[in-house]
């Protein structure tokens, strides 16, 4: 898109700048909309699990206006800061978390080519940026001048940093199979019928998916790994002294990263924007056939992708309201004694599987595996491209 604007004679910096702003605005809208929707959905889902209704008054029978109402309330709240809190860090912390969570969306494709920045190191970028969220949390915990917040922050730091290892290994496995760090490429390799999905590539990959789910839940601090914000022990952990808008920023960061890891899991394992039945192909909608209808096909893909992300988020909510919380040493045990060795074993297993069956056992539409010319072609064709 930026190239079009340059062609029309606008200076490069303006073109790229405005395109970037537009993309950011779209993603911000998506993220905030997601946060609002998921707060409502969390309350409804938790209500139903607990044998009660969720919000039913604000906004008709289903209470869908509850999220905007809560948002307005949070904006109108008094801006409190503990007297002994570190002013700069206290104010900065929520935005750090939010930025880290938001940046993941920059490289996360919603459909074929629908991505803010198509990086050919997308996976690497996402892992790196998602790990920055811990800075916001530690800053919040330290700056709150409360021992309880500090506890939450320390636990969080330990947890997120240690779970990055098995998460990285789990993410590395489909990357190794696909031969590319580019998420669009990985997604496109799962075209066709359901068995093309990466999760069905090998039994090892199947197990890897579940390890990925565990590590993803741990890295987003959702129950049963939510001891950083453990409500019953630490009041609200590192969030204790936050109220009003700052709290809602943290919350958006949390829901944003939930959607992001669900989306990442969907692309890496569950076929991305391709559904189990290739409807778009069957009714003749791929991009190459017809530009506008192809766009419709991609929209269908985006809906698929969002559906899978929502499914992932719902699963995380379901987990939260069912299971008790693990203690910090148990969390570390699960990571270091179970997840890391298992993930490493799966890595070796998948490696041997791809060596034994290079084309995979099931008939695939798109050949799986590293394909340099296709990768080069794709980078040139699609939007933006990266500029290394």
């Amino acid at each position: 898109m930026a190239d079009y604007l340059v062609q029309f004679g606008s200076p490069e910096w303006l073109a790229y700048g405005s395109v970037a702003i537009v993309q950011c605005l779209i993603l911000l809208t998506v993220m905030m909309g997601a946060a609002a929707t998921f707060t409502w959905m969390e309350r409804k889902v938790s209500g139903r699990i607990q044998d009660r209704l969720g919000p039913t008054r604000v906004g008709g029978r289903f209470g869908w206006l509850q999220s905007p109402a809560d948002g307005i309330k949070l904006l109108c709240k008094e801006d409190l800061m503990p007297a002994e809190a570190d002013a700069v860090l206290f104010r900065l912390a929520p935005y750090m978390s939010f930025c880290a969570s938001f940046c993941v969306f920059l490289a996360l494709p919603f459909s074929n080519g629908w991505v803010a920045q198509q990086l050919n190191v997308a996976v690497f970028f996402i892992l790196a940026v998602a790990g920055l969220e811990v800075f916001g949390v530690v800053m919040a915990g330290y700056a709150s001048a409360s021992k309880w917040s500090l506890y939450g922050a320390m636990r969080e730091a330990a947890q997120v940093v240690s779970y990055e290892v098995p998460l990285g290994i789990c993410v590395l496995i489909p990357v190794m199979v696909a031969g590319s760090l580019d998420l669009v490429t990985i997604g496109n390799m799962q075209q066709g019928w359901g068995w093309n999905w990466m999760i069905f590539h090998s039994p090892f990959m199947f197990i890897t998916f579940f390890i990925f789910v565990t590590c993803a839940v741990a890295s987003t601090n959702r129950a049963p790994f939510d001891l950083a914000e453990a409500e019953s022990e630490l009041v609200a952990g590192f969030l204790t002294e936050y109220s009003g808008f700052r709290w809602s920023v943290f919350f958006m960061a949390e829901y944003g990263s939930m959607v992001a890891v669900s989306g990442l899991g969907a692309i890496l394992f569950l076929g991305g924007w391709y559904g189990p039945i290739p409807v778009a192909d069957l009714i003749g909608l791929p991009h190459s056939n017809h530009p506008i209808l192809g766009w419709l096909g991609e929209l269908l893909g985006a809906c698929n992708f969002l559906f899978k992300a929502i499914l992932g988020v719902t699963f995380m909510m379901w987990l939260r309201w069912t299971l008790p919380r693990l203690r910090i040493d148990q969390v570390m045990t699960v990571c270091l004694k179970y997840c890391v060795p298992l993930a490493a074993t799966m890595f070796v297993g998948v490696m041997l599987w791809t060596y034994a069956f290079p084309a995979g056992l099931l008939p695939r539409k798109t050949p799986i595996g590293p394909n340099p010319e296709a990768a080069a072609r794709m980078t040139v064709e699609t939007t933006g491209g990266d500029r290394t």
Binding site: K147, E233, V235, T322, L323, P324, R325, R327
Partner: protein, 415 residues
């Protein structure tokens, strides 16, 4: 501090009382942290203040501070007659009001050498056992909440709601009943109550396996509670622990069977089991009790919790027997004593088996209608005193697990 413009003229700087850092409660090494789990905390089950001395996450000492809910009930007891003091007992362990009432009523009856007729006796058993279930449900639900499992809380409170509705039908109150008084009970059952009670018992029996699945047999729950806060039987007896805390350590002691004759007479023709581990196993009424996990050590949090869950089943049994006996019994109901009844001179002390332990009341009388001294010996008071022994060496996250397993109610501790 920023003040809004329109309040600036009214605002006065409040003097901040800064605590002199030289005045600390006890020595603190530089590598230790002194943390206050203050009176307001989600998982201290009331206004309990715990001062923890920790080295990182490992707790080395816990000092409980109580008295935030002290309402001078004993001093008030020296000004009012026993029947007038009955509502104060309700508010001690407010989750088990019937049992508190029973304790006080029976103490005064012991002093006056008064026996209640059988009909009232069966009613008392029914109400006390229903309240035992209600109290254990709260204990189970809030214990799950402490550990991070939010859902069982609502399931248990849904069942407790039905019990409170039953109580409302009987005496008009949902929490503070003053139903069981000296001489019997204040009123007979309304028509249709027994059927409602039976319906509740049937519904509750279906819910118990759900609660076991989501709590007792849950792997994460077991990891959080098994082997945590192990209390040896000798220490339990030495610290005066009672109820599920004592039985969780393997001591098979229940005042309904082992108490004073006045208390055991109340339950003399009832069949029920005392739930305590005997030679490695628990009395099995049903086949679907969860299995004791291998990580659980006798005297740990898991056992205390498990005993409460299984006691609910025994209570269901007792209630059904009580209902049957009540239907067959056609004697008088008994008259509560007059408010201005003079008490004989002397002292009487009686302990009854409340859901949380042995609740004792003492009345000292000088011959008038107003007692000279009233004393309430709280079960949770003694159960809480053992906390510092249980919590040593465990992680910060285990403190709510241990306190929750002791099942304390500050109303009873502070009176």
């Amino acid at each position: 501090m920023r003040i809004a413009k329109k309040y600036q003229d009214r605002y006065q700087e409040m003097p901040i009382e800064r605590v002199d850092p030289e005045l600390v409660e006890f020595d603190v090494r530089t590598d230790e942290m002194l943390i206050n789990m203050g009176p307001q905390h989600p998982s201290t089950h009331g206004v309990l203040r715990l001062v923890l001395r920790t080295d990182g996450e490992v707790v080395s000492d816990v000092v409980p501070h109580i008295g935030y809910l002290h309402r001078c009930a004993e001093k008030i007891g020296e000004k009012v007659s026993p029947r007038q003091w009955l509502p104060y007992t309700d508010r001690m362990d407010y989750l088990a009001g019937m049992n508190m009432n029973l304790g006080w009523a029976m103490t005064v009856e012991k002093l006056m050498d008064l026996d209640v007729p059988d009909r009232a006796r069966h009613l008392r058993v029914m109400m006390c056992e229903l309240n035992r279930i209600a109290s254990h449900l709260v204990a189970a639900g809030t214990y799950g909440l402490d550990l991070g499992s939010f859902t069982p809380f609502l399931y248990t409170f849904r069942e407790r709601e039905k019990i409170l509705n039953l109580f409302e039908d009987v005496c008009g109150a949902r929490l503070t009943y003053s139903y069981i008084t000296m001489g019997g009970v204040t009123a007979d059952l309304p028509p249709g109550w027994l059927d409602k009670c039976e319906r509740f018992l049937c519904e509750f029996e279906e819910v118990i396996p759900e609660l076991h699945a989501v709590l007792t047999s849950n792997e994460i729950f077991i990891r959080r509670t098994a082997g945590i806060g192990v209390l040896s039987p000798e220490m339990a007896i030495d610290y005066g622990c009672s109820g599920p805390v004592l039985r969780g350590s393997g001591v098979k002691w229940d005042l309904r069977r082992d108490g004073e004759p006045r208390v055991t007479r109340m339950y003399e023709d009832y069949e029920f089991e005392i739930i305590a581990e005997h030679e490695g196993s628990y009395p099995q009424d049903r086949d679907d009790y969860p299995v004791v996990p291998p990580q659980a050590v006798l005297g740990d949090c898991w056992h205390r919790f498990y005993i409460r869950m299984v006691e609910c089943v025994q209570s269901i049994r007792l209630i059904r027997q009580a209902m049957e006996k009540y239907r067959e019994c056609d004697g008088p109901l008994g008259e509560p004593i007059k408010v201005t009844q003079k008490l004989p001179k002397g002292e009487a002390y009686l302990e009854t088996e409340a859901p949380k332990g042995q609740m004792g009341f003492m009345v000292v009388s000088n011959g008038t209608a107003i007692p000279w001294r009233v004393r309430a010996r709280s079960s949770c008071f003694c159960n809480l005193s053992v906390t510092h022994e249980l919590c040593r060496g465990f992680l910060l996250a285990d403190i709510p697990a241990i306190i929750g397993s002791l099942d304390i109610v500050l109303g009873e501790i502070d009176r």
